[in-house]
Each structure stands twice: as structure tokens, then as C-alpha cells.
Amino acid sequence: MTKGLIDRRCFVFSSTLLAASASSTLGWAATAKDAEVLVEKLVAEINAVISSGNSESVMVRQFEEIFKSYADVPTIARYALGNDARGLSQSQMEKFIKVYSVYVSHKYGRRFREFIGGKIVVQKSRPIKSFFEVETLAHLKGWEPFTVSFLVSNRSGKLLFFNMFIEGINMLLSERTEIGAMLDKRRGDVEKVMKDLQNSI
């Protein structure tokens, strides 16, 4: 068992180097437990902010930072664009990811605000396809506890969550619907969407 652990650590180390050098899609062999540990840390940070007693505006900024450091924001940005991503130039894509990062962490950072006065507890994890699902239960005063699930992957080169389900509601899908609707309203003009995303914050 100990040997297995050391082997795994070696493998983690070497494959991190590999991923860094080749920036390939090759991930190291993360386990459901690793994903669970990541979400434990994420939840601990959210809970710490909640119990800090800071003003709400300070908390929202802290939540934003937490979102940024635990979420694979570039992947979320690309998914939100969906098929429209294909028409973008490299530099447009980079700009979109940058603008979208600020917008999405602000939006979901604010969402974490709903947990003020409550707490989130990690329940269980399991592997699905090439990633992991970590289920948590959010306890808010006056409400039935509800499930918040995080999908975690290391395909970006780092172990991060790329999707979140609040009572079954899929963040990626909502985001793709949102960006799709914004593009429709602006006749597919990505530049205009970026400008409006910037202005919405």
C-alpha cells in the first residue's frame, strides 16, 4: 500500500512535468479521493468566508477569488461559446476567455453569497468517464438541505472543477444558453458580447 502511494506520487510528479512540457491532454491519474480533497478545500474556504463576519461586499469579492482559483475557467468559457467558438480567431478566443473569467467568477461568486448563514458538507465522490463527481449537501436555515455537485477534472493540467450542479441545475448548460442568447441578440457579434459582458459587472 505504502509502495503504491509512493509510486503514485512519483507518477503524479512525472506526469505533471510531462503535462507542463507537452501541454497535452494527458492527465495524471487522479482519483475520486483527490477530487474530494479539492472540493473539501473549496468548501472549507467558502465556509471560512461565510463565518468571517466580513461585510457582504467583501465576502462577494472573496468568493470571486475562490471561484477563480478552483474552477477551470478557460474550459467553462469555451463551453459557454459552444459551436460559436469555431468562428473565433486565436486572439478573439483569448480575449473572450479573459473577459468571461471576470464575468463568470463575479456571477457565481455572488451565488456563493446564498450560503451565508449556512454550511456545505462534502458527502461522497465517484469517477464518471474521465472525471469525478463530488457531491455536497448545503444546509441553509429554513430550507430543506439541497445537493450541490462539483465535476472535477485534471485535463487542464491542474485538478479543478469545470461544472457545478445546484439541485440538478447544470451551470455549464445555463452558461451556454446565456452566451448563446446574447450572441443571438447581437447577430453573432462576439466583440459586442464581450463589451456587454464587461459592462455588466
Binding site: T25, T75, F131, S174, E178, A181
Partner: protein, 245 residues
């Protein structure tokens, strides 16, 4: 109307209607044949929220302290329990039948007609249910998505469920008109309190999104399917795979 007639009505009419519903329960399916009509109702609902519900919920919170609001919410929810009891019985869910009845008995007595919720401290609180869920357990498919004026997002099956729940609630047969009015009033209070408590979430969907209709539909269908079938989770798409295509 006699109880038996009512029962017959809610069993026969909706079921014959539902058997005509074509689409089945399908995760990841957001087809919307009624979209045109639904969008019109959505605009009306949004106006109702903006002009009435949202501002009243703010007044409600400001006018009443936390304690009276929680008393109203408890009372309203307590008198919704008999409806849950009937539905769990129809679903054959004995565990929740006993939980619901225990909760109702404790809260109606020690909890002073439901103003307090002592059952929670005993760890007896059943998850709520409705006739839409009963139909689901009986194998009725969800039908198509509908948004109804005043009632909000629903599906054909759940819309029938809402009507059935109104007819089915045993509280209506037992209470005198004055008591019924009290329950109705606290139900309104509870709705206002919930609207206020979920304020920023509802606002972001209704007023900050590019297509509030599409977001409402997505959130409702996913949330409802998850509630009825938490063990069959959403078909997870893999954005890493998709982007490598």
C-alpha cells in the same frame, strides 16, 4: 361537491388527458412545442413579478420581523402536510407517510397548530411532495413544458398535479371557512417570504439573463427531474472531449 365525486374527477379527467401526452421523461430533452404560447405567459408572469410579487415581498420582509415570518411559514407548511400525507399514501411510500403524519401531529400540538416546527428538532421532517410526483411514481410521463400565468413554469403532468392537489387537500374538507382563510393567508405570506429569501437568484434569472424564458425553463426542468429522480443524474457532458472533436 362530495369527496367521492371530487376523487373520481381528479382521477379520471387528468389521467385521460395525460395519456394523450406524447413525449416521455427524457433527461437532456428540452423540446418545447408550446414555446410561442409559453413565451407570452412568461412575459405576463414577469410583469406580475415585477409589479406585484417582488415589491410586495420586499414590503412583507420589511413590515414583519424574522420571527413572525418564520411562524407564518411554519404554519403554512404545516397545513400543507395533509396534502403530502395523501400523496405519499398514493405513492405507497410508507416511510414518508409515517414521517409526514408524525411531523403534522407534533407540530399541530406541541408546535401550537404549526406556528413552531418542533418536529425538526426530533429529526422528523419529511421532504415535501405533490400529486405531480405521485403521477410520476405511477409511471405518467412528464409531457411537454408549459408556463402558466400566475402558476409559473410546469409540465403537462405537473400542471394536472397542481390542480389535483387543490382538490385533494384534506385540509379543505376539515377546516371551517374562517380557518381556511387563515391557511390561505399564511400561504400567501409564505410565498412572499420565499420570493424574498430567493431574491437574488430569482432576480438574476428573470432580470439579468439574456433570455429569461430559456433560463427559467432549463432551471425548472432540471430541478424538477433531479427532485423526482436524484439517482439518475443528468447526462454529464464532457467539455474536454467535446472541444477535442
Amino acid at each position: 361537491m362530495k369527496l367521492v365525486t371530487k376523487l373520481a374527477l381528479f382521477l379520471i379527467v387528468p389521467l385521460s388527458f395525460l395519456s394523450a401526452c406524447s413525449s416521455s421523461f427524457q433527461l437532456g430533452n428540452y423540446d418545447d412545442p408550446y414555446e410561442n404560447v409559453n413565451r407570452k405567459s412568461h412575459e405576463i408572469n414577469k410583469a406580475i413579478d415585477k409589479k406585484v410579487l417582488r415589491p410586495s415581498s420586499k414590503i412583507y420582509v420589511r413590515a414583519l420581523g424574522k420571527k413572525p415570518r418564520s411562524a407564518i411559514a411554519n404554519f403554512s407548511e404545516n397545513w400543507g402536510l395533509p396534502k403530502d400525507f395523501v400523496n405519499y399514501t398514493l405513492q405507497g411510500d410508507l416511510r414518508n407517510v409515517s414521517k409526514t403524519s408524525g411531523q403534522f401531529l407534533i407540530n399541530s400540538t406541541i408546535g401550537l397548530a404549526g406556528i413552531f416546527d418542533p418536529s425538526e428538532k426530533f429529526g422528523i421532517s419529511a421532504r415535501g411532495t405533490d400529486f405531480g410526483e405521485t403521477l410520476h411514481r405511477w409511471g405518467v410521463s412528464e409531457g411537454d413544458y408549459v408556463e402558466i400565468i400566475f402558476l409559473g413554469p410546469s409540465t403537462e403532468r405537473d400542471m394536472v398535479g397542481k390542480v389535483a392537489d387543490l382538490l385533494l387537500n384534506p385540509v379543505g374538507f376539515v377546516l371551517n371557512p374562517w380557518q381556511s382563510r387563515l391557511v390561505t393567508t399564511t400561504n400567501v405570506g409564505n410565498v412572499l417570504g420565499n420570493r424574498a429569501a430567493l431574491g437574488s437568484t430569482i432576480d438574476s434569472v428573470l432580470y439579468d439573463s439574456a433570455d429569461s424564458y430559456a433560463q427559467t425553463k432549463l432551471a425548472y426542468l432540471q430541478g424538477r427531474r433531479f427532485r423526482l429522480n436524484p439517482e439518475i443524474s443528468e447526462i454529464y457532458s464532457d467539455p474536454y472531449e467535446e472541444m477535442n472533436d
